[in-house]
Structures are given as structure tokens and as C-alpha cells.
């Protein structure tokens, strides 16, 4: 049964991944990437990495794909011009793909990577995956964990300094205290209308 589920979701994953790189409309490609993420999450849950599977859905599908779709839908992408560069960028793409393949082969063929703080316990009925991660992540791996915080901080600073570089002169801010503390005299002007010569007596 588990095998059937695995092949089913792996098949959909391969199909979705192929569609991501072959479909013409980039928005469709992004949606296929969402499908691929969901199927990868199912595969991770199948091998026992529950927390990673759920984090994949929450972080990648929930946040990263939102950003992707933002960029794709809002950016002024000329799809025809993008396709022109396909052969021009092909060598670079092949090099990157080859490097990633090499890394994967090295990781898969290598012996068990050295683990500090003992082996992570196999997920079982007693020790579930989230416990197993938590036991070592905040104790034995506390240094990489804090480095992750520094990287996140760096990303915050970088994102802000890239997007808030110039102050726009003619933008309007909303100042809530100022709005709330306004009085009737500042906003309302009662005008006496002369009945005889019916014109608005605007005094300014």
C-alpha cells in the first residue's frame, strides 16, 4: 500500500516538475511548482520526515510561492524576449544543473555524515519526528541554529535596504493619532448664506 502511494505521488511529482520547465506561461509553471512541492511533502512524510514535510508546505507553498507569483504576475515580463535567450543561457544552465547533480551524487554515495550529539533517533511510535529534531536542534546544533537567525536578520536588512533606498517625495502617509485628534473646528466651516443675492459667501 505504501509503495502504491509512493509511486503515485512520485509520478505526479515528476509530471509536475517536467511541466514547470516545459510549460510556456510562467504563472502556470509556478502553479505546477506548487503541485510539485505538495507531492514532495507527501514523499517526505512517507519516509518519516513529518516536520520537514509540513514545513515544506507552510514555508514553500505558503510563503515562497506567494513571492514567486507576486513577481511573475506583477513583473513586466516579456515572455517572447525571455525565450530568445534560451540557447544563449543554455551553457550556464547546463553547468549549474551538472553541479547540482554532482552534489546530489556525492551526498547520496557518501557514508553517514558526521552527526554531533549522537544519532538522531529513528521516528517510531514513541519518538516522533518533531521530538527527534527538537532534541538535537536546540542543544547539539545550537550554533548552526543561531547562524540561521543571523542569516534571517541579514535577509531582513538586505530586503529593506534594497527596496527603501529613496524617499519618494509625493507619497502620503497615514498618521492615525493626527487623524483621531482632529477637532470640529479644523474640519468644519459654517457658512452663512445670504438669501437676497443667492451666492455662496466663501470668505477666502
Amino acid at each position: 500500500m505504501e509503495q502504491v502511494i509512493f509511486y503515485l505521488f512520485a509520478g505526479v511529482l515528476l509530471f509536475a516538475a517536467t511541466m514547470v520547465i516545459s510549460v510556456r506561461n510562467p504563472v502556470y509553471a509556478a502553479l505546477f511548482l506548487v503541485l510539485a512541492f505538495f507531492n514532495a511533502a507527501v514523499l517526505w512524510v512517507l519516509v518519516g520526515a513529518e516536520f520537514l514535510g509540513l514545513a515544506l508546505i507552510v514555508v514553500y507553498v505558503g510563503a515562497v510561492m506567494v513571492l514567486f507569483l507576486f513577481v511573475l504576475m506583477m513583473l513586466d515580463v516579456n515572455t517572447a524576449a525571455m525565450r530568445e535567450g534560451f540557447t544563449r543561457y543554455l551553457p550556464v544552465g547546463v553547468v549549474v544543473a551538472g553541479l547540482m547533480l554532482l552534489q546530489l551524487i556525492v551526498v547520496i554515495l557518501s557514508e553517514q555524515v558526521d552527526l554531533i550529539g549522537g544519532l538522531i533517533p529513528e521516528p517510531s511510535a514513541e519518538v516522533d519526528n518533531v521530538h527527534a529534531i527538537g532534541q538535537v536542534l536546540y542543544t547539539a546544533y545550537v550554533y548552526p541554529f543561531e547562524i540561521a537567525a543571523v542569516i534571517l536578520l541579514l535577509a531582513i536588512v538586505a530586503a529593506i535596504s534594497l527596496t527603501m533606498r529613496r524617499q519618494r517625495p509625493n507619497t502620503q502617509r497615514q498618521d492615525v493619532p493626527k487623524q483621531l485628534s482632529v477637532t470640529k473646528e479644523q474640519r468644519l466651516r459654517l457658512v452663512q448664506i445670504d438669501k437676497k443675492n443667492r451666492r455662496h459667501t466663501s470668505d477666502t
Partner: protein, 118 residues
Amino acid sequence: MLENYLPVLMFIIVGLVFGALPLIAGFVLGPRRPHPEKQAPYECGFEAFEDSRMKFDVRYYLVALLFILFDLEIAFLFPWAVVLEDIGLFGIAAMGLFVGLLVIGLLYEWQKGALEWE
């Protein structure tokens, strides 16, 4: 362990069927009399006059980016909360440093005005 995920699988199947069945039923049962006017794209009765792709303010991306970063922070909080009893004071201190570093980021973006919408 995997038995706990059976309801999830059921939900996936039910969701797929529930989404696909009306579409297939409409495709099979509905009358199809195509006409060039009917198949032309239009927006609110007008013909579409421009591409929907246009340049937007970069602030929209900033909001999404900042959301991702704090989303990741929350993802780290989950296993921490589960094992808090086992890792004790050291775990609290580790998470304190982690959150403290991100609070610096929060203060920075607050001070820079990135949280305000103009």
C-alpha cells in the same frame, strides 16, 4: 506512524474528486456551441486592451519577503515548543538569542518605516 495520515490522504482524494467532478460533468454534459464572439476575451464588456502584466511598486515584494522571514521563524518555534520540557533552560536561552536577533530585524524595519504603507 503513517496510519495517522490516512485522513489526510482521504482529504486529498475527496478534494481532488470534489474539484474535478463538476468540471468534468460540465465538460461532458454542457452544450457546446462555440462562436468567435463568445470565445473572445473581454474585460467588463470591453475588449481587452492591454496586457495584465505591469510594473508594480517594489513595496509589495517587500511585504512578501518580510512575511517569508518571519514565517521561517515561526517554523523554528514549533519543534522547540514540543521539546521545551526536555531541553530546559538551555533551550529557552537558545531560542531567546534566536528571537532576539530577529527582534533586532523587526526594530530595524519598524524604524526604517517598512511596516508603514504610504
